[in-house]
């Protein structure tokens, strides 16, 4: 199958039209070569830095000994597990000396291991999933102002979360994970209702899908509003949930959601050729041998799975899925083979940064991160659009 490639300059509003408007090709080439290293280094350094953002000061040396203790604990747990199967493997070993426990306190250990590490990883996972979801949905709809929530994920997740809090029957089956599980399944349910309602004579026209998604989202949101209205206990809780926060993330969430997002992102990447073809138009994609309906459904399923999983632990965090794909294309070109992996990194960076601001803005309070993503995301995006898009958005 022919790869539409980033040099194509016609057909799609998303592919191949982005150019950094720099005077010399040499400078542009340097930027292109440096950007991957800069983005990767920024992600790693920012993730490390984020572990220390908060009202409690923890020294780097204490953190180092905490990491060693944590590593030894993970290693011992793994070896103990393997030892049960293969008795020749020692049940416990310590690769690094763990005499540093006197250099940190138990609260410091808990803050790093039980609070900050899950939050930082949640920011990376959620940011990545939203950005890749946005990139995929914009490609499918060939519309630069769409984001993953457009197909009903957000309203479905809100319905699941609200029912969990309002109706005891919804909170009994999955114990502590009821809210997450219900948010996940209800968002998938709404996405599939949207998809199959848009079905017309063997295909799902993207315009139908888009409009149906908006309509069903409004309908489901009305049901949520009614439930909230009739149960005052819900009002502040759902209100805060809708604003998005990473503060509740724990290790169990990270393993579950990280697994789902990781698999979905890899599978989405494997569809990058088909997605590029779709961005050029369904007829064009079909002429290249792409199974258009199957590809659309598979990609939407992957987006729904990964974004629903993220919404279930972080609530609704806006703008990431809208703006990060654009920034990724501006920096690294329009093909999905590049925009998807770099959306992962840029989405993670953006959400880490937003969460650091949310935590660091006040000495004691934590602002919902969804507020911050909008406040810093929109001006930043407008700047990028006007200064760096090189006229790509001119009609």
């Amino acid at each position: 199958m022919q790869d539409p490639g980033e040099d194509s300059n016609t057909g799609s509003p998303l592919v191949g039209r982005f150019r950094l408007p720099l005077a010399h090709d040499t400078v542009r080439e340097i930027i292109r070569k440096v950007s991957p290293i800069a983005v990767t280094a920024t992600l790693i350094l920012l993730a490390l830095f984020s572990l220390f953002v908060g009202p409690v000061r923890i020294s780097w040396s204490s953190a180092w000994y905490i990491f060693i203790a944590q590593f030894n604990q993970i290693l011992n747990s793994a070896l103990t597990g393997i030892h049960h199967v293969i008795s020749q493997v020692p049940a416990g070993v310590s690769l690094f000396s763990n005499t540093g426990s006197r250099y940190y306190t138990m609260p410091e250990y808990d803050i790093i291991v039980q609070i900050q590490e899950p939050i930082v990883l949640a920011a990376v996972i959620v940011g990545a999933a939203l950005a890749v979801g946005g990139s995929t949905v914009q490609g499918i709809f060939r519309n630069p102002i769409t984001e993953p929530y457009i197909i009903g994920i957000s309203s479905g997740a809100a319905l699941g979360a609200t029912l969990t809090i309002a109706v005891p029957q919804f909170s009994s089956d999955f114990g502590a994970f009821s809210l997450q599980v219900n948010a996940f399944f209800f968002s998938l349910l709404v996405v599939y209702i949207t998809y199959f309602t848009s079905y017309r004579r063997g295909s799902v026209p993207v315009t139908y899908l888009l409009l149906t998604g908006v309509a069903i989202s409004i309908f489901v949101s009305s049901i949520v509003a009614f439930i909230i209205y009739t149960n005052t206990r819900l009002q502040s809780e759902v209100f805060f949930w809708l604003m998005g926060s990473l503060q509740q993330a724990g290790w169990a969430d990270i393993y579950l959601v990280g697994g789902i997002v990781g698999v979905c992102v890899i599978l989405t990447y494997m569809f990058s050729g088909e997605l590029d073809a779709l961005q050029m138009g369904e007829d064009y994609a079909s002429s290249l041998g792409v199974r258009v309906e199957f590809t659309k459904m598979a990609l939407l399923t992957l987006v729904a799975l990964s974004v629903s999983a993220c919404v279930s632990i972080a609530g609704l965090i806006g703008f990431v899925g809208l703006i990060i794909p654009h920034i990724s294309r501006m920096l690294f070109g329009g093909t999905s083979r590049k925009s998807i992996p770099w959306s992962v990194a840029l989405g993670a960076i953006f959400l880490l940064l937003a969460n650091d601001i949310a935590v660091g803005l006040y000495a004691e309070r934590v602002v919902p991160v969804g507020i911050i993503t909008g406040m810093i995301g929109v001006p930043f995006f407008l700047f990028i659009m006007y200064r760096l898009s090189g006229g790509a958005y001119h009609a």
Binding site: G54, I115, L179, T232, Q248, W251, Y255, G262, V263, E364
Partner: protein, 326 residues
């Protein structure tokens, strides 16, 4: 690329599965399953402690006030945004029921966290299940439940004797207050409406609340028939036309000059029977200070009845009347 992707997917699934299993099987809760001190919260969860706790974080203003009165304020290592009693609180503030600063909370190394009933279940879950700190939920809907909570805190902090003294004082005071109200037939009781908030509707407190019980003691009939708190249809207020309108401290008096309140008996009576409560922390926080709210209510509605309350049994730097005025 395909084989590499498959290997990566399998690796992710294995790490996720093993990690999730490990986290789930590692157990929750650092409190003992047995111990001489046994407390049960409003969610019917039972917690055991080996000895009275000495490191408490309170995200519940009523619990903070009660601990102070019990003489256990020294055991409080963290408070919340809305604590008002005792005044001049100097302990760290960890947030409120909606937004907790978990770093600060963990750094305070509490043995137990006290929260109010409206606290988010996700907050409860994070503190209890992830951070392994017992969370005790307080959600009293009546004076007897307020006294039970006081007893529970006394048990938890080793101040049972003071808890008994406070509960006896509450019981005795309520009896005196109830007896001081002129007797009226139930059918001729005056009707009352409590305007709790004008944010996004007309908010009020209905049946099965401790505020409704205060009205019952003062022989006032709450015009609201639903349970708990909520917004009320303005037509009900016009139709029921309450004789008395109580405004929360943060509801502007001007709110009573517009419909539906300017169509009520309270508005048309001369003088108008529209009152702003003296201090909403006394009125809205379910703790022993509710006695003073009932006193204010009865003294305001029946000026000829000025009952004399027994002296508070515990000597405090800030007496419980701090902030109470009539």
């Amino acid at each position: 690329m395909r084989s590499g992707a498959i290997v990566l997917i399998v690796a992710i699934l294995v790490v996720s599965g093993v990690g999730f299993y490990y986290v789930q099987s590692s157990g929750h809760g650092q409190e003992s399953s047995t111990g001489p001190i046994k407390v049960t919260d409003s969610l019917n969860r039972t917690f055991y402690f080996q000895s009275p706790v000495t490191r408490i974080v309170s995200i519940d203003p009523a619990a903070t006030a009660t601990l102070y009165a019990l003489g256990a304020y020294k055991d409080l290592v963290g408070g919340n945004e809305f604590d008002s009693y005792p005044p001049s609180e100097s302990i760290p503030n960890v947030g409120d029921s909606y937004s907790i600063n978990y770093q600060m909370l963990v750094n305070l190394t509490p043995q137990v966290v006290l929260v109010y009933g409206s606290t988010f279940s996700s907050v409860d879950q994070k503190i209890n299940n992830t951070l392994n700190i017992p969370v005790i939920v307080d959600n009293p809907n009546s004076i007897s439940q307020i006294m039970s909570f006081t007893s529970m805190l006394g048990n938890l902090t080793g101040t049972e004797h003071n808890a008994t003294l406070i509960n006896n004082w509450v019981r005795q005071s309520v009896t005196i207050l109830r007896d001081s109200v002129p007797s009226v037939n139930q059918s001729s009781e005056e009707s009352v409406f409590y305007y709790l908030s004008n944010y996004g509707g007309i908010w009020t407190m209905g049946q099965n609340t401790f505020i409704n019980q205060m009205f019952q003691i003062a022989k006032l009939r709450n015009i609201v028939s639903f349970s708990g708190s909520g917004t009320i249809n303005a037509e009900v207020i016009v139709n029921q036309s309450p004789d008395i309108l109580l405004l929360d401290q943060y509801v502007p008096v001007s709110a009573a000059n517009v419909a539906p309140f300017n169509e009520t008996a309270a508005y048309y009576s001369s003088p108008q029977r529209i009152y702003t409560i003296f201090n909403d922390s006394f009125f809205d926080e379910p703790d022993f200070r509710i006695v003073y709210s009932i006193y204010w209510l009865i003294s305001t509605m029946y000026p000829s009845s000025m009952p004399s309350l027994p002296q508070f049994p515990i000597k405090l730097a800030y007496p419980p009347t701090t902030g109470f005025s009539y």
